[in-house]
């Protein structure tokens, strides 16, 4: 029915994301697949080896989903149903692990738990839950903030204990977002690479991405790599089919509630304790990185920070230049993702749902695979875009697009479409009426989408390492390069850059959240 509320002049807009997705997503992947294809691909797909890996990865991913939900749901409740000072800060903070380069997270976990928990399944699941807290908090929180709290009060007056209210009323009401968040966390954990390599028990393969890496970079066995990629795409599609079936379609009252003030002491304690726990949880694993940036074998030092400014690390490229590069790439990514995300949101409104489905493909394809495809398709002949510096932002925008779609679509569906007709009846031209009805929410969503994409870009490593110019790495690539060199200053400089990345990402998220909240809430 939303299709009716689209001015004719906007109906063609679905073609823009469709064109971009086909050019920069479908074409490179198909091209990669046809290059790698041989009859061995089928053999690998039908042999039990890959399926065993997929099974093990599924178990691991399910455990990760469970833990992420257990940790994330209480945080979502506190951050999205109460209004208190520091709320925005906490929301930005819990999002940081999601956008940090995995190598930084993995090292943090090693130094925090290194001696207590041996490498293996437990550490991998812990790290996956850690990275994905933000997915749970933001996706479930968004639905929680529109939940009518009086429903819980009614249940309590009917004699339900707080636990029973949670399990019989609140969680069922949040079912759709729980299913969505669970699916996304499952997919990220199932296709994880960096965490599994560093925190896995180091013997044997645990995810299909690991098979893919090993087949491409060590064995040069491309048919098997392709088989792993295909199987991964199958599993991811399956997850989406299952999650669509698990979602309910009941109509929901469209309420956007003001978050509750902290009136009672009990509520204040709940909020304070949860925030404190979340703070310790998020900061704990990365605190060691901060520590490494201010200490040396001789004790505390500020040298690594001052070295950064005086750029003495010319041998491994100037860290300051890498920062500037990452920031400008993030800005370009934000613009591309905002245009792409906005056009996809409009496509969804005009019932071109296929475009949204296309946009989800990057969830099932790793950044490295995507980077490989784009590298092969666009770095030679007349399609040589490599020198133009556009390949990284395009790839980053594609990686961020599923997140953009997940954020944008529900927000636009919450707008009362009758406003469009009200505006038309007051004499506004169709485009103007559309903007009057949807503009505030739309621009908020677009800003949020762009900001999230920028944050993703700042921390992305897999594609950047394939597409960077040697003399101009991004910050995560620079961190990885430093971490692959021996020597105190290399490690410490990597730590300094990681801390800067954390601060940068947090500031960005704070600004984005504030703008988006203002637009969507005050709509």
């Amino acid at each position: 029915m939303l299709a009716k509320h689209l001015p004719r002049s906007l109906k063609w807009l679905w073609a823009l994301p469709a064109l971009l997705l086909v050019t920069f997503l479908i074409y490179p992947l198909v091209r990669l697949a046809t290059t790698a294809w041989s009859s061995d691909t089928l053999n690998a797909l039908t042999s039990s080896t890959l399926w065993q890996v997929a099974l093990l990865a599924s178990v691991q991913a399910l455990l990760s989903v469970g833990l992420a939900l257990i940790i994330g749901i209480p945080i979502a409740r506190v951050l999205f149903t109460y209004q208190f000072p520091g709320r925005g800060f906490m929301l930005a903070l819990v999002t940081v692990p999601f956008v940090l380069p995995t190598v930084v997270v993995a090292l943090g976990f090693r130094s925090l738990f290194g001696n207590a928990i041996p490498n293996g399944l437990i550490l991998v699941v812990l790290a996956h839950a850690y990275i994905n807290i933000a997915v749970v908090v933001r996706l479930i929180g968004a639905q929680w903030s529109t939940l009518d709290r009086r429903m819980e009060v009614i249940a309590a007056t009917l004699g339900a204990s707080p636990l029973r209210v949670l399990t019989s009323i609140t969680l069922p009401a949040l079912r759709n977002s729980i299913v969505l968040a669970g699916s996304v966390v499952f997919i990220f954990s199932f296709s994880s690479l960096g965490i599994v390599v560093v925190l896995g028990d180091g013997s044997g393969t645990r995810t299909l991405e690991q098979v893919l890496l090993r087949s491409t970079s060590v064995l040069l066995d491309f048919p098997t790599a392709l088989a792993a990629a295909i199987l991964q795409l199958i599993v991811v599609s399956l997850v989406f089919v299952i999650s669509a079936r698990m979602s309910r379609n009941e109509p929901r009252a469209k309420v956007v509630l003001e978050r509750a003030q902290l009136r009672s002491r009990k509520a204040a304690i709940v909020v304070a304790v949860t925030c404190l726990a979340a703070f310790v949880l998020v900061v704990g694993p990365i605190a060691s990185i901060f520590w490494a940036s201010i200490s040396s074998s001789g004790g505390l030092t500020s040298q690594w920070w001052s070295d950064l400014v005086s750029a003495q690390n010319t041998r491994i490229g100037s860290p300051v230049a890498a920062l500037g590069r990452s920031i400008s790439l993030a800005l370009v990514t934000a613009v591309i993702a905002a245009i792409l995300g906005g056009a996809i949101a409009i496509a969804v409104m005009s019932k071109k749902g296929i475009v949204a489905t296309l946009a989800l493909i990057p969830l099932g394809v790793s950044a490295v695979t995507l980077g490989f495809g784009i590298l092969l398709a666009f770095s030679r002949g007349s399609f040589d875009l490599r020198g133009t510096g556009t390949l990284i932002p395009i790839t980053h925008a594609l990686i961020a697009v599923p997140i953009v779609v997940a954020v944008a679509t529900p927000a636009l569906r919450n707008v009362d479409p009758r406003r469009y007709f009200v505006a038309l009846s007051l004499g506004a031209a169709p485009l103007r009426a559309w903007w009057t009805a949807f503009g505030t929410v739309f621009s908020g969503v677009i800003l949020a989408a762009g900001g999230l994409a920028a944050a993703v870009s700042l921390g992305e490593f897999g594609a950047a390492t394939l597409l960077s110019r040697t003399d101009s790495p991004t910050v995560p690539v620079q961190i990885a390069r430093l971490l692959s060199k021996p020597g105190e200053s290399a490690f410490a400089t990597a730590a300094v850059l990681s801390v800067i990345l954390v601060v940068l990402t947090m500031s960005l998220l704070l600004v984005v959240d504030r703008i988006a909240a203002r637009r969507v809430l005050h709509d």
């Binding site: 490498n119 560093v198 064995l219 040069l220 030679r380 003399d471 101009s472 020597g487 105190e488």
Partner: protein, 350 residues
Amino acid sequence: MTRFIAVGLTGLLALTACSSTTDSTPIAGSEPQLQTVRMITHESFALSPSFVANLREQGIDLQITSTGDAGTLTASAILAAGEPTADLLFGIDNTLATRATGEGVFDTYTSPELANALPEFLQDTQGGFLTPIDFGDVCINSDDTWFEQNEVSIPTTLEQLPEVANLLVVEDPATSSPGLAFLLATVARFGDNWPAYWEALRDGGVAVAGSWTDAYYSQFTPSGGDRPLVVSYATSPAAEVVFSEDASVTEPATSVLADSCYRQVEYAGVLAGSENPAGAQQVIDALLTREVQEDIPLNMFVYPVRADATLPAVFTDFTPIISRSASLPPEQVGEQLASLLDTWGTVMNR
């Protein structure tokens, strides 16, 4: 709305335009005959800026892009065989070389400058397709301070390692290049009996890390870990001195177990289908000049192949050239790699 998008697109184009003009566009007028040569390499590649500047004086605008590690680099070159994404490739090593030359990735070219190389590299051209540029050794490093404090003697041979396997951290050969080199070192030493050796390491409690970074920076004792033996590079102790914060550190606290080393050689080659093969050849020659060869050690912590290249003091002082480094014929590695890794995985998981 349309105007909104149009403004966005213009901004986008402006931004990308900025990022493309920074360092690759030749300055109009001053160097009219500048020809473009594109080189792909791995992300550990590093040389002083004078390398590119000198080539520019010779009329070559060298554009360097990196593609992951050596394995990913080789993979991307094979996938693009015949329609390369660049004119030359630097950084393919002796474990993967045969696979690439067999797939028609390279044109034959051997630099005349190779005549100046150390004797063992003079004929090392992988069938005429590649030119060796540098080499290094993957060796076990030991934390000498730890051994001194704990009054344990440092092992000196591969055979002694199982007894102290609970002090050793190695890298997974399926995900780490030094990890693979160390596996190959044991295969070179023990032949078909290598699985028994690894069973002994496993039973002795060897730790396996997923990456060199994790092994060296979290599990190795100088970094706060609990393993005083780690699989790393022969040059790591020298790098510790060069990259130390404290200028008074003149001697490394770690040393190399010379018996455990495996030789890695890095090559450059002209990519088949290159748009500028002559320029590519010129760059390979430049990589072998004495000036560039002497620039290699402190940038990439490997040794130059050129015989007359002077080594920096930290190399001569702390990193003896490993005289009996192991290596396997590339053909054998190419054939057996998959089964070696499978067997290794089975042994370690049992």
